[in-house]
């Protein structure tokens, strides 16, 4: 479907109402406003340090064309020069002296020309400054941050899936004394964001000897009330007959959980997996409080530290930002429908 068709074709057969036009205008503005900034970030991340400092900025990543001229070991920058007779020529600059520049014709390297600097304009070409991406990987602890973030996200998600599904299983399949009290505890936890118990959780983590370890980031958020609710709600829809059939088949309660209920809860587990990955990859306040050594920083904390330290090194900061958002963007592209229906059904994020 081409774009014009997308805009002009309508489902309503009765013709255009002004609200339809307004709606499409609003949506297109939305596309610009929502995608524009990210696109701008990505474009900017491929610009050289010099072109990042230009004002007004160019839209696409550009850099000055350089050319190798026989007799000069270094490549020389190329300019378009307006000559005294009004013609224009492309010349390479050998050196600049005050307001004059010594230039040379690449085709005829024998003769040097003197040109006033205001008569020449750089020849620019589209170029991606990929060194913005490769250099931070070598020069900074960025790979360490990346590894830390991956470790936290993977391990925390696995723990969350295991203990949340166990609790949800107990709370959905069984009747037992204290079930209501346990449900109340889960609901109560829902009301207590880490924001307001920052200090005492820090104390608990200190007592456990975990400060500056990644486990200090992983453990406190592992038991999520959201996850328990989500999974319990799903497990409640499983037919009771299945559980009883398994019991008649001499399955132990653990086997019922692991071999019957868990495989059948996969859709809900998938939603929780995505949520957990999002939460953990993006988590900020708690790691900021508990991780104080650079080698234990996660990506988010590392990025925040960089934006304080690397005031003028925007080229690295932008590239690292792009690298940080890429995994999330990939997850989104592949699982968009899944995530949005998951959120719409649960009202949680």
């Amino acid at each position: 479907m081409n774009f014009a068709h997308l805009v002009t074709a309508r489902r309503n057969p009765k013709g255009w109402h002004w609200t339809d036009i307004a709606a499409y205008a609003y949506l297109l503005l939305g596309v610009l406003l929502m995608f524009g900034p990210v696109l701008w970030l990505i474009l900017s991340s491929f610009k050289t340090q010099a072109s990042l400092l230009e004002f007004p900025p160019s839209l696409l990543p550009m850099s000055q064309k350089e050319i190798t001229v026989p007799g000069y070991p270094q490549p020389l920058p190329l300019f378009t020069v307006t000559m005294e007779d009004g013609t224009t020529r492309e010349l390479a600059q050998v050196r600049r002296v005050g307001i004059q520049a010594q230039m040379i014709d690449p085709a005829n390297s024998g003769r040097q020309l003197r040109v006033p600097i205001d008569k020449r304009v750089p020849v620019r070409q589209f170029a991606l400054a990929t060194e913005n991406y490769t250099e931070p990987l070598e020069r900074f602890a960025f790979p360490q941050f990346l590894a830390n973030s991956v470790f936290v996200t993977v391990v925390a998600t696995l723990i969350t899936l295991l203990i949340n599904s166990m609790a949800a299983y107990a709370l959905s399949i069984y009747e037992f004394k204290g079930k209501n009290a346990a449900m109340l505890m889960v609901i109560g936890t829902l009301m207590i964001p880490i924001t307001i118990i920052l200090v005492p959780v820090y104390l608990v983590v200190t007592k456990l000897g975990l400060v500056n370890s990644l486990w200090a980031v992983i453990l406190p958020g592992a038991a999520t009330p959201t996850g328990v609710f989500l999974l319990r709600q799903y497990m409640l829809t499983l037919p009771r007959d299945l559980i009883e059939a398994a019991r008649m088949d001499k399955a132990s309660e653990w086997q019922i959980y692991w071999r019957i209920v868990m495989p059948l809860t996969l859709p809900a587990l998938a939603v929780l997996t995505i949520f957990s990955i999002m939460w953990r990859w993006n988590e900020f306040l708690w790691p900021l409080a508990v991780l104080t050594k650079t080698e234990s920083y996660t990506l988010q904390i590392g990025l925040n530290a960089f934006q304080g330290e690397l005031q003028t090194q925007w080229q690295y900061l932008l590239a690292m930002t792009v690298m940080t958002l890429t995994p999330v963007a990939i997850v989104f592209v592949f699982l968009q429908r899944f995530i949005t229906t998951g959120i719409a059904n649960t009202g949680m994020k």
């Binding site: 489902r11 609003y26 939305g30 924001t195 920052l198 959780v201 900020f284 958002l325 949005t340």
Partner: protein
């Protein structure tokens, strides 16, 4: 595990399944809540409660020691009160903008629109971005030589220092926060709109009801339960705002975008003297506000489901 069941019996197994999650809840939620109260009534720089002297309600009276509550300058802990007022201001306008825009977007997306899935994805995707990434994206656009200033000078205007002028900094804090989260609330409202049976609209069309009247008399009342959830939920989140604003403005210029949570974080962790007692007292105050808001939300959702 099967051996464990032999040992303790089938009927005690639910407790085994529940145990790990409850241990985590206990260790990282319930014990901390109790300790938080202990912190808030003790003083000194020590981290361990046993080493902290009891000071009764001193921390609270210090927080609330003001000449006049409407003027933070008259308060002994003026940063806390600036945080309170900034948070109130931020929350009020952020929630208004959030609810208004997500409602508008949801209604538009619920129209007979081509490519609805694409547009829904466009509005939703910033929700997945981390607060740090969101803040850096906008910081880059809003900086002195950024894209926005280029556009302004292109139209002949003067550059504006968006993040270092107090009024602009607060505006962009609100803007960026709405930008990042409105997709989530749009999704909830859209789900609510799609749950309204279409025969109601068809009946209204048979009655030749004008569109604006359909919206005010049918859509809005039927969507009201979802709208309440969105209002309270966005309010709960707004009151806890920290990360995007912290990375975008650092609370500045001065204290003009300092939020309560940033105050708590800095009081406890990043100031020269780590004042755990004062941070805990401020947490308790914030906690009470959040608790009230959550109860309101539960009350509304209960009514919705019954």
């Amino acid at each position: 595990m099967t051996g464990l069941q032999r040992l303790i019996g089938e009927r005690r197994m639910p407790y085994v399944f529940l145990l790990p999650n409850l241990v985590f809840f206990g260790l990282f939620v319930f014990v901390p809540i109790a300790i938080n109260f202990v912190y808030s009534v003790t003083g000194g720089p020590a981290l361990f409660p046993s080493e902290r002297p009891y000071v009764a309600a001193d921390q609270y009276s210090y927080l609330f020691d003001c000449g006049s509550y409407v003027d933070p300058n008259t308060c002994r802990e003026d940063h806390f009160w600036r945080g309170v007022y900034n948070t109130l201001f931020f929350s009020l306008f952020q929630v208004l903008a959030m609810v208004g825009l997500s409602l508008l977007t949801a209604v538009v997306l619920n129209m007979k629109i081509r490519g609805r899935g694409f547009f829904r994805a466009v509005y939703f995707f910033p929700v997945l971005l981390s607060p740090v990434v969101v803040a850096l994206i906008w910081k880059w656009i809003l900086q002195r030589d950024g894209l926005l200033n280029a556009a302004i000078t292109g139209f002949g205007g003067d550059r504006i220092l968006f993040l270092t002028e107090p009024g602009w900094a607060m505006f962009w804090a609100i803007f960026v926060s709405v930008w990042a989260h409105m997709g989530f609330y749009t999704l909830i409202l859209l789900a609510g709109l799609q749950a309204i049976p279409s025969d109601i609209y068809e009946a209204a069309e048979m009655d030749a009801t004008p569109r604006w009247r359909v919206f005010w008399r049918l859509t809005l009342p039927l969507l009201w339960p979802n709208l309440i959830v969105v209002i309270v939920l966005s309010l709960i989140r707004a009151v806890q705002t920290f990360d995007e604003v912290f990375v975008l403005t650092g609370g500045g210029p001065g204290t003009s975008t300092l939020m309560v949570v940033q105050y708590i974080y800095e009081t406890a962790f990043s100031n020269q003297v780590q004042n755990f007692g004062l941070a805990a007292a401020a947490s308790v105050v914030l906690g009470i506000v959040l608790f009230a808001l959550t109860l309101a939300q539960l009350a509304f959702t209960q009514r919705k489901s019954s």
